[in-house]
Symmetry: C2
Subunit: 336 residues, 2 copies
Amino acid sequence: MLNQQWLLAARPKGDIQDSDFRWNEAKLPPLGEGQVRARNLYLSLDPTNRVWMNEAASYLPAIPLGDVMRGGTIAIVEESRNPGFAPGDIVQGLGGWQTYWVGDGAGMSKTPRLPGGLPLTAYFGALGHIGFTAYFGLLDIGQPKPGETLVVSAAAGAVGSLVGQIGKIHGLRVVGIAGSDDKCRWIVDELGFDAAINYKTEDVGKALDRHCPNGIDIDFENVGGPIMDQVLMRINKFARVVLCGMISGYNSSKPQPGPYAFGNILMKSAKVQGFIVMDYGARFGEAAQAIIPWILQGKLKFKIDMVDGLHNAPAALRRLFDGSNTGKLLVKVSEE
Amino acid sequence: MLNQQWLLAARPKGDIQDSDFRWNEAKLPPLGEGQVRARNLYLSLDPTNRVWMNEAASYLPAIPLGDVMRGGTIAIVEESRNPGFAPGDIVQGLGGWQTYWVGDGAGMSKTPRLPGGLPLTAYFGALGHIGFTAYFGLLDIGQPKPGETLVVSAAAGAVGSLVGQIGKIHGLRVVGIAGSDDKCRWIVDELGFDAAINYKTEDVGKALDRHCPNGIDIDFENVGGPIMDQVLMRINKFARVVLCGMISGYNSSKPQPGPYAFGNILMKSAKVQGFIVMDYGARFGEAAQAIIPWILQGKLKFKIDMVDGLHNAPAALRRLFDGSNTGKLLVKVSEE
C-alpha cells in the first residue's frame, strides 16, 4: 500500500514556491502493535501553515526539512492494532499532507459524526478551530458590548466571516475589510455585515472614517501591516485589538516593523492580545454548544472552498496569500 | 502682583529647544467672585509634558500656542473668594508653569498634609500619579505571580524605580534597564533589584539572556524602541506588556515603526495594554493605603530630583530625555 505524501523540501524565502515541497510515495509497512492506520479524508489549509515552514519555532516546533508537511486532517480509521480505535472511527488531528496517517493513537482525537445533517467538514469550519478562534477571540478577548463598533480584516476569510456574524449576533456594528467587490458583497448581502471595504480599490482610512462614525472599539486583526495601522489610528479609548493573525507579514523574509500607530495603544489605554485557539482547549465544548444552534437557526453561515486531490495542496495553499479564496480552504484527500 | 510664566511659544521639532518657550510676566488682576489664587510650590516635570506640546491631541487636548505651559503643581491658597477654599489650603492639579495659579476652583484638588513626617513632595512621588502608575500598572495590568520575571525599562526613573520595588514586594525576579553604571548600582544596591543592565554599555539582548534565564513574564515598558524589541523577543507564553510610556519616540518628528518583534505578541499569546493613571482615578485611595505602610516600613524608597526656580524649568525638562536625571524631577517654584 502506497502512502502519497508532500514533504517539506525547502524553507520558503518570501512567497511559497512549488520547489519548497517534494512529492513522495512511500510503501507502508504492516502495522506494529498499538498502531493505527487512518485514511485522510480532508486536509485543512490555513495561514499558520506558512509559519510552520519557517526555520524558527512558533507555538509549534519548526517542521524538519524532509518531513511530511504538517497539516490538520479528518481521517477514517481503516486498520487498528490499538484497542482505543476501530475501523470506521472518525479521527482528527495533525494527520499531515499524506493519504495515510499512521500512528500510535497519540494526537488522534476520536470525533463523533454531527447531528442535524451537518457534514464532517463542519469540524474544519464553524465547529472546529476556525469557529472556536472566532468565538473565543471575539467574545473572550474582544469583550464586546452591544452598540460597539467591530472592524474585521480578512473579513471574507474563514475566521473573519464567522467573527462578523458572531459580532452581529452580539449586537455590534460590524465593518469588514476584504480584497474584492465580490467578497464585499458576500459579507454584506449574505452574512449581514453593516459595511465592507475593498482595500484594493478604496482608501481604507477614509472608508473607515465613513463607516465607523463612532470610532472603533474592537479590531479583530487577521492581517497586520498598513491596514492594521489605519484601524489603530481610529481606535477609541479602551479599545481591544484581538490579534489573531498577521498574514501580511508571513511571506516576508526580512523583519517587518510593527504598526506605526503602536503609540495609540498607549494613548487610548487600549489592549492588544494575541492568542491561539489551543489556549482555549478546555472550553471548546462551551463554544460548540453555542455555535450549533446558531448554525441550525441560519444565523451563522459558512463557506467551504474545497480543492480536489492532495496533488493540488501546494498550489491551493498559495491561494491563501494572494487573496483568491473565499471561505475555509480544504483539500479533499479521499472519498468518505 | 506679577505672575511669572512660561508660555508655549512653538511646537518642538524633535528635541525641545529654549525657543519653544517664552518667559512672560503678567500683572494679576484682583480676584473675581468665586475665584481662588494659589501660589505654586512645586511643579512636576514628566515625559508626558513633551506629548502635550505637540499639535495633535493625546489623552488631553494639545496646549494652544501662546498659552501657559501645562504642568502638574502643588500650591498653597493665598486668597479666596470661593467658599470651598481658604488661605493656607494645599491644592493640587494642573497649576501650570507659573508662580500663581488663579482659577474658579475647578481642577484644584484640596490635599491634606501627610502623616508620619512625609513631605508634600511625596504627592508627586510614591503617593501621587507616579506611585499610582507603578502600582496599578504592575498589579492590575501586569498581574504578577510570585517567582515570575519582571523587566523594567527606565528603571532608575520615577515610575521604574517604584515598579521594581513593588515587584520585589510581590516576590518577582526584577531586572532593570537604565542608562548609567551609577543608576544600575543604585537600583540594585539601594532598591533591591536582582540585576541591572546599562543599555549604553552592554548588549541588552545578551544581558537579558543572562539575567532572565526563565524568560520574561512581565515587561513594564517606559521606553519603547529597540530596547523594547529586545525584551519582546524574550517574552514567555502569556506574557504581559504594561505599556506605560515610550519616551524613546516622544522627540521624533517623523512616524516611528512599532516593535519589530510585534509578531511575538501573537506567537506567545501575550497581552500589551496601554493605560494612563487617570483610568484608575476611582481607586487611588486603595493604592495610597497600600503604599503608605511600604514607605514607612522602608520597603519603598523614592528619590526626588529637585531643581530650584521656575526659570530653570525648560532646561530641567530636557534632562528627562537625555538620561541625566535619577528619580522624580520637580521644580521648586516658591518656598512652602
